[in-house]
C-alpha cells in the first residue's frame, strides 16, 4: 500500500518541489539517481519546473527525454553509447523504463549502476507513478539503494482554494503538523485535535474520495500522537490517541473488530480510571451495534450507560453527536426506519439542544426519514412547520435551498390535490436560493425538477396559476 498523503495540497507539493531543486543543485555534476514519485496532475508541472531550472543557479543542464515509451528507448540508446554523454537526464515516464524490452533495460541499468556516471554526469531524474516506483524498486534494487532521497510531489495542480474552506483549513493544519513539523513544536493535543477534526469532517462528507482523504489525515495524526505519547510515557494521551486512530479507521473495520475494540477500550479506560473514555467506548460499541442491525440493544446501551455518564459530566452534546452520527449513517445506508428509532431516542433523552443549527439538523433528519419511508403527511408537516422556519430563522441560504428542495420532493411524492402546485413553488424557491448560495449544480437540478413537475402538472389538468400567483402563494406559505 502506498498511502497518498491527502494533505499534500499545493503547499506540500511546492515544498517537495523545492527539495527536488536543492537535490539537483547540491548534487551538481556528480551522478545521482533521483526517483521522484508524482501524481498524474503534477507530472506536467514538475517537468515544466525542471525545464525552467535546467542550467540555472547551479542546477546542471538537463536533457528531457520524451514523455512516452520513446523516452525509455532514447535512454537505452544513451546507455549503449548511441548518444553523447549528458550533464543530466529527466525521464518523464519512468514507468515505461521498468517494462522496456521486457525488463532488460532495467536489469542493465541495475548492473550499470556504478558506471551510469559515464553517460549521465549529473542527476538522473526519473518521474514515476506510485505503482511505477514500486516496480522500479523491485526491478533495480542496487540502483534503488543509492537513490538520492525519496521525493514525492503531489497536488501541484490542485486549486485547493475556495471550494471548501474547511477542507482547505484541515489540509493547511495537516501540512503544518505532519509535513512541516509545526516548526519543531508540535504537541500531542494539536495532533489529536487535527485527528478529531478530520474524522468529524470525513464522517459527514458525502464525497467518498474526500472522506477517505480526511480519514487518512486523522489516522496519520493519531498514529503520530500515539507514538509520541508512548515515548513520553503519557498514558492518557496514549489512550486518547489509540481511540482517535481507531475511530479514524472505524469504517474499515469489520463489525467484530469494531465491537471487540470497543470492549477492550472500555476495559482499558476503566482500568485507567477514566469514566468518560469508558463511556465513549460504550458509545462506539452502540454505534457499531446499531449500524450492524442490532438497533434495540444499541439504544438500550446508550440510554442506560452512555447518556448518564456524559450527562453527569455535563457533556450531553457528546450523546447528541453520537446519536446524530448514528442516524446519519443509517440514512446513508437507506435504513430510514432505524434512523427514526435513533432520532426518537434523541427525543426521549430530551437533551438540551445546543443550538438552532443542531435543531435544524435533527428536524431535517426526521422529515427526510418520514419522506423516505412514505409517511408523507408527517414529512410535509415537519418540513413546513419546523425545518423551513428554522432554516429561514438561521438565514442560512444553503440550508433553505436544501429544505425547499426536499419539501418540494415530499409534495411531489404525495401528489394530492394542489400538491404539485406547491411542489413547483418549492422547487422554484429551491433553485432561487441555491443560485443565491452559488450552488449552481443544485440550482440546475432544482430547475430541472421544477420542469418535471410542470410537465406532470400540465399533463394532469389545465394550466394553474401563473408564475406571479405562485410566488404570491409561496410568500403566504413562508409567512406561516
Amino acid at each position: 500500500m502506498n498511502a497518498r498523503p491527502p494533505w499534500s495540497s499545493r503547499a506540500g507539493g511546492e515544498a517537495a518541489l523545492a527539495t527536488l531543486r536543492r537535490t539537483l543543485r547540491r548534487g551538481g555534476t556528480q551522478f545521482a539517481f533521483v526517483p521522484v514519485v508524482v501524481d498524474d496532475e503534477s507530472r506536467e508541472e514538475v517537468v515544466r519546473a525542471l525545464r525552467g531550472w535546467a542550467g540555472h543557479e547551479g542546477v546542471p543542464a538537463l536533457t528531457i527525454f520524451p514523455a512516452s515509451a520513446d523516452g525509455a528507448g532514447k535512454f537505452d540508446l544513451l546507455l549503449r553509447g548511441g548518444l553523447d554523454p549528458v550533464e543530466g537526464v529527466v525521464i518523464p515516464d519512468g514507468d515505461a523504463l521498468v517494462n522496456a524490452d521486457e525488463g532488460r533495460l532495467a536489469a542493465g541499468l541495475n548492473l550499470s549502476r556504478d558506471h551510469l556516471g559515464r553517460w549521465v554526469r549529473g542527476p538522473l531524474v526519473v518521474l514515476l507513478s506510485d505503482e511505477g516506483a514500486t516496480a522500479l524498486a523491485r526491478a533495480v534494487p542496487d540502483l534503488h539503494d543509492v537513490r538520492a532521497g525519496s521525493i514525492e510531489i503531489r497536488g501541484l495542480a490542485r486549486s485547493g482554494g475556495g471550494e471548501d474552506p474547511e477542507w482547505d483549513a484541515i489540509c493547511q493544519e495537516a501540512n503544518r503538523l505532519l509535513v512541516d513539523g509545526g516548526g519543531g513544536d508540535v504537541t500531542n493535543s494539536e495532533l489529536l485535535e487535527l485527528a478529531r477534526w478530520a474524522t468529524t469532517y470525513g464522517n459527514r462528507m458525502d464525497r467518498p474520495r474526500r472522506a477517505r482523504d480526511a480519514r487518512q489525515i486523522a489516522e496519520v495524526a493519531a498514529d503520530r500522537a500515539y507514538h509520541r505519547a508512548q515515548e513520553q510515557g503519557q498514558f492518557l494521551e496514549v489512550l486518547e490517541a489509540w481511540f482517535s486512530r481507531s475511530i479514524a479507521r472505524w469504517s474499515e473495520l469489520t463489525p467484530d473488530q469494531q465491537q471487540s475494540f470497543a470492549l477492550e477500550a472500555h476495559q482499558k479506560s476503566r482500568d485507567l480510571g477514566h469514566p468518560i473514555k469508558s463511556a465513549e467506548a460504550l458509545g462506539m460499541l452502540a454505534k457499531s451495534l446499531a449500524t450492524h442491525g442490532n438497533i434495540d440493544r444499541a439504544m438500550k446501551l446508550i440510554r442506560d450507560n452512555v447518556a448518564p455518564a456524559f450527562i453527569s459530566h455535563n457533556r450531553p452534546d457528546v450523546v447528541f453527536n453520537l446519536l446524530m452520527i448514528t442516524a446519519e449513517e443509517m440514512m446513508r445506508s437507506s435504513r430510514h426506519a432505524d434512523a427514526l428509532k435513533v432520532l426518537s431516542e434523541l427525543e426521549r433523552l430530551d437533551l438540551p439542544s445546543a443550538s438552532n443549527e443542531s435543531s435544524l439538523h435533527v428536524e431535517r433528519a426526521h422529515a427526510y426519514c418520514f419522506m423516505k419511508i412514505g409517511r408523507l403527511d408527517q414529512a410535509i408537516t415537519t418540513y413546513s412547520d419546523r425545518v423551513l422556519p428554522l432554516a429561514r430563522q438561521l438565514g442560512s441560504t444553503p440550508d433553505i435551498a436544501v429544505a425547499e428542495r426536499e419539501t418540494s420532493q415530499a409534495y411531489a411524492m404525495r401528489a394530492g390535490p394542489g400538491d404539485l402546485d406547491l411542489a413547483l413553488i418549492h422547487a422554484e424557491a429551491a433553485a432561487m436560493e441555491a443560485e443565491r448560495a452559488n450552488m449552481h449544480t443544485q440550482s440546475r437540478e432544482a430547475r430541472a425538477f421544477a420542469a418535471t413537475i410542470e410537465h406532470r402538472r400540465s399533463a394532469l389538468r389545465p394550466p394553474g396559476p401563473n408564475r406571479a400567483a405562485r410566488r404570491s402563494a409561496h410568500r403566504q406559505t413562508s409567512r406561516r
Binding site: 500500500m1 502506498n2 527539495t19 536543492r22 537535490t23 547540491r26 548534487g27 551538481g28 556528480q30 551522478f31 545521482a32 539517481f33 526517483p35 549503449r80 525488463g103 532488460r104 536489469a107 542493465g108 541495475n110 548492473l111 550499470s112 549502476r113 556504478d114 558506471h115 556516471g117 559515464r118 516506483a133 514500486t134 524498486a137 523491485r138 534494487p141 542496487d142 534503488h144 539503494d145 543509492v146 537513490r147 538520492a148 532521497g149 525519496s150 521525493i151 514525492e152 509535513v179 512541516d180 513539523g181 509545526g182 516548526g183 519543531g184 498514529d223
Partner: protein, 454 residues
Amino acid sequence: MDSNVDDVLPLTRRVMGGVPATTLDDAVKLCNPAVALDPEADAGLHVNLDVLRGGDRMATLIRAIRRQGSTSSLQFLTGHIGSGKTTELLRMGNRLSKLPFDHRPTVLVLDATPLVEISDVDLEDILVALWKLVADRSTPAAAAVLAEIWKKELRDAIVSQATGASGLLRSVVDKLPSVATEGLSKLLDVLKLQPPEQRKALRMLLSNLTDTLVHGLNRALEVVREAAAGPVVLLIDNLEKLSSRQREAVEHLYLERLRALSRLDAHLVITAPSFLVYSSGGAGLLGQYATEVVVLPMVRVRGTAEGGHARDDQGIDLLVRVLTQRVDFARLFDGGVETAEAIVLATGGCIRHALAVVASAINQQDDAPIARTSVDRALGQFEAGLMRALDDEWLPALRKVHETNRFPSDCKADARREMLRNLFVLEYQRGQSEETFFEVHPLVVRSRRFREAT
C-alpha cells in the same frame, strides 16, 4: 593495481571546503551514496569497521593468497547491497599492491559491468572480458603474447567455427580484425549489444574454444608472473548484480560454468550474489569450489531480541564516526552528534542508508542548522521508499525474524532471498566466534504496515 574501473574523481576532491564538510553543499556531495570511496584519496573518510564485522575478513582472503603463492585459488566475496563490497575489494587490491616486494602480487580488477551484458552473461563473456583486461591493462609482454595467440590461433579458430553459422554472425566473424584488442572489442560488442539470438550463437561458437581461451590467458599470465616474480590476482567485481529474474541461469553460471575459471593460473576473487549463500545454492557454491565464501555483514547497532535489542555502543560510535568524518554535525545539524546517532540507529548499520538520509535531510532546507524535523522527514521519506518493494505476504515472516533473529522454518527460499536482497532483513555478525543473526531493518520495524501485521 590496475583496473578497468572508471576514472572518477574521488569524493574528497569534489568539495570546496575540505572534510568534514562545513557547508551544506559539500555535505551533500560527501554523502552521495552512489560513490564508493577511493582507497587512497578518500582514506581520510574510511573508518575501519573490522572489529564489528567479525574481524578483518579481507585479511583472510589476503592471507590465503599469500600462503598459496603460485598455486591458483578461487574465492568468493558476498554481502548485502551497500555493505561495501566494492570499497573492500578495491582496498584489498590496494593492500595487496603494498605487500612486501617478495610477496607482492600483480592485481588486475575486472569490473564486469561495462564489458558484458549483465542480464544475459555467461562464461564466454567473462573469458573474453578477461582477455581484453589482460591485453589492455597488464604488461606489454603479456599483451604481446595474447596478440600473437589471437592472430595465429584464436581468430582463425573462431572464423572456422563460424562455418555454417547464420549470415549475420558470419558477416561479423569474417571481418574480425587481426589486431587482438580490436578483435576482442568486436567480440565484446556482439556479446553486449547484439540481439539475444546473435549473442547466443557467438557464445556457442566460443564455448568450443574455451580451452584455447583459458590456455591463452594462462600463457599471458605466466609472462606477468615471471616479470613481477609473484602471483597474479584477478578481482572480478559487480558480477553479483546479475538480474535476479534469471535466478536459475545465475546459479548455473556460478555453480557449473565458472568452474572453468579455476583452471586459470591466478588467484581469483569474485563477487557473488548473496542468495547463492543463503539458498540451497550456497552449499553448492562451497562444495563446488572447496573454498570459503567471505560474507560482509552489516555493522551491528543493536543486539539480539534475546538481549532486548540492546544498543551496541561500539557499533554506534564507529558508525557515528563514519558520518562525522564526512560532515561537521556540530556545525550543520541541530543536536549535533546526537542527531548523527539517531540516524545511525534508524538505519540499522547500513552505511549507505545513513548517508542517504543525511543528504536528504540537508536537502529539506536552504540553510543550516538542519532541524530535527527535517531529519525525521528524511527518515520518513526513506522509509516510504524502502517499503515500496515490501510484499505484504512477507510481514508475518518479518515479525518472526524480529522476535527470534532467525528466519522461520516455513519461510520460502525465494522470499528469504528477496527480503535480504531488498534489505528488509539485515545480517549481522559481531565476532568471528559469534553466530550470524538476522534483524529486520529498523525503518521497516517502525513502519505502520509492520506494526499492524499480525
